[in-house]
């Protein structure tokens, strides 16, 4: 049979960000997928090597619009590790609140986009309407509905008072009720089930073999979560459950996200009711970056996010390396397209929760002489030290 090459993207109604997939189809069946990335590369890592480490906090939080607080958390943690600067307990709890609010709205937007991709526009509108309440809460807590800029080395920038606390708790009740309803829709609606169940399967072995992270791996039954494995901030004190589904398909990945919203709601409630007293930020902002090297792992809404920083004792870092979860999930998750039908491709891509702005980092691919080699981070960073 003739194999056709169908370009999917970089501009496509189902994709909200520029990425291209070359789909090789035999009739309706996809036989091979080649991703083509690099349309949105902005050189953030290079920018970080040229700016003061204080300014980099704001550059790094602009890597991704949806998950900006988690990026600044990762950057702050790595700088605090080098500075040996421990934030006060109240700041740790407030960071968890901000991060979990972000997780709620990030999961809600991908559930809404999934509904839109499936042609269920009324569900998309309803979810986006309810998501706006979470954005208002984030605006109340951090000062902006999207870009939080909430963290600072050694704490957070602003405190939360009783009135704000009560309003957040009240809104969470509303969100929980609505999410219960949406869970019912996602489990019972025949249209959604027909479009998602058994679509884009990734077995547990494949997920572990290809190093998938976040809800994509948890949807395949892999118990992986940085918040449990390597707790940062106050995650070792806040109780929560690790959500996994064993169905291994697109539907399971979406259900993991719905259940994680409930967990996040409970975590925010716990943090706000058990908020320790004391200072919430540093008395004086530390402006010295001693010589050293640090690495931080955090759980972004899309999976494990890693920041690695090398400092030479100057105010400008030598190297800042960012490894985002979408990078592994998109490139290594292509096994899900095996024997998929062409019409299911947008649904599978959306089930990975792709964040293209996040993943556009430097990568080296040599396909001419199929040579496999593992360069160290130092080699990739280049230059003599």
């Amino acid at each position: 049979m003739v194999v056709l090459e169908v370009p999917f993207g970089p501009q496509h109604p189902a994709l909200h960000e520029p990425i291209m997939f070359r789909l090789y189809v035999e009739g309706e069946q996809v036989v091979k997928v080649m991703p083509n990335i690099g349309y949105n590369h902005r050189g953030i890592e290079k920018l970080c090597e040229q700016n003061l480490f204080v300014k980099n906090l704001y550059i790094c939080s602009r890597v991704c619009g949806i998950c900006n607080i988690i990026h600044s958390t990762a950057y702050t943690l790595v700088v605090e590790q080098i500075q040996k600067n421990d934030p006060p307990p109240r700041a740790k709890y407030l960071r968890v609140v901000a991060n979990e609010l972000e997780r709620i709205h990030s999961h809600m937007i991908i559930l809404a986009i999934m509904a839109e991709v499936l042609g269920f526009d009324s569900l998309f509108m309803l979810m986006m309407r309810d998501r706006e309440q979470v954005m208002r809460m984030k605006e109340m807590l951090t000062g902006n509905r999207v870009l939080g800029d909430y963290l600072i080395f050694g704490g957070v920038k602003r405190d939360v008072d009783e009135e704000k606390k009560n309003r957040i708790l009240k809104t969470l009740d509303f969100i929980e009720e609505r999410m219960k309803y949406y869970k019912k829709v996602f489990t019972e609606d025949p249209t959604i089930r027909k479009r998602l169940v058994d679509v884009g399967p990734i077995t547990k072995t494949e997920a572990m073999k290809h190093c998938l992270v976040g809800p994509t791996a948890r949807g395949s039954g892999v118990k992986t979560d940085v918040r449990k494995e390597d707790p940062y901030d106050a995650y070792d004190e806040v109780p929560f459950n690790l959500i996994t589904y064993d169905e291994c398909d697109s539907w399971a990945r979406m259900m993991v996200r719905i259940d994680e919203v409930f967990e996040s709601i409970n975590m925010v409630r716990y943090c706000l009711t058990h908020l320790p007293d004391g200072p919430y930020g540093p008395k004086v902002l530390k402006r010295a970056l001693p010589k050293g090297e640090g690495i931080s792992r955090v759980e972004a809404p899309r999976g494990e996010l890693i920041y690695h920083m090398i400092s030479e004792g100057k105010r400008i870092p030598y190297r800042v390396k960012i490894r985002t979860p979408s990078m592994t999930n998109i490139i290594n998750g292509l096994v899900a397209f095996k024997n998929a039908v062409l019409a299911d491709v947008p649904a599978i891509i959306t089930s990975f929760d792709p964040c293209i702005a996040c993943m556009e980092r430097v990568e080296v691919i040599d396909i001419r002489n199929s040579k496999v080699w593992y360069p160290t981070l130092r080699q990739l960073a280049g230059g003599k030290r």
């Binding site: 009324s122 208002r136 000062g143 870009l147 019972e188 609606d189 902002l285």
Partner: protein, 123 residues
């Protein structure tokens, strides 16, 4: 066939639209929103900390007739409203507001001038 969303869709047919028609209806920002901020010239000690650490370089120091030393002026077309300047200011000289209605047809007006010290204070 059971369609769980049907009741919500039917209810929405007879309810008001959720969209807020923004220019006609104002959407008030939450308390603590990072909006337009200005420097209080009377409080500023011209330490230049905000100008040095501004991530986008939106703050420049300028000379004004009512003050001996230079005072920061914010270029709002460059400003990303991260409020780092407000956070680092040692004397809390920045006056913050929740004003986000900043769109204009003329780029030259996008400059946040300092608040000049009032004559009362000088006396």
């Amino acid at each position: 066939m059971k369609i769980p969303l049907l009741s919500d869709i039917l209810r929405n047919l007879f309810s008001k639209p959720a969209t807020i028609e923004y220019p006609k209806v104002d959407i008030p920002a939450e308390e603590g929103y990072r909006g337009l901020h200005r420097v209080d010239a009377a409080k500023c000690i011209s330490c230049r900390l905000c100008a040095m650490e501004c991530p986008t370089g939106a703050i420049t120091m300028k000379k004004f007739p009512y003050k001996e030393k230079e005072i920061p002026v914010i270029d709002l077309s460059l400003c990303i409203f991260c409020y780092h300047c407000v956070y680092v200011c040692p004397v809390k000289a920045y006056v913050v507001s929740t004003n986000y209605h900043l769109s204009t047809g003329d780029k030259r007006t996008l400059i946040s001038e300092p608040i000049p010290p009032s004559t009362k204070k000088n006396n």
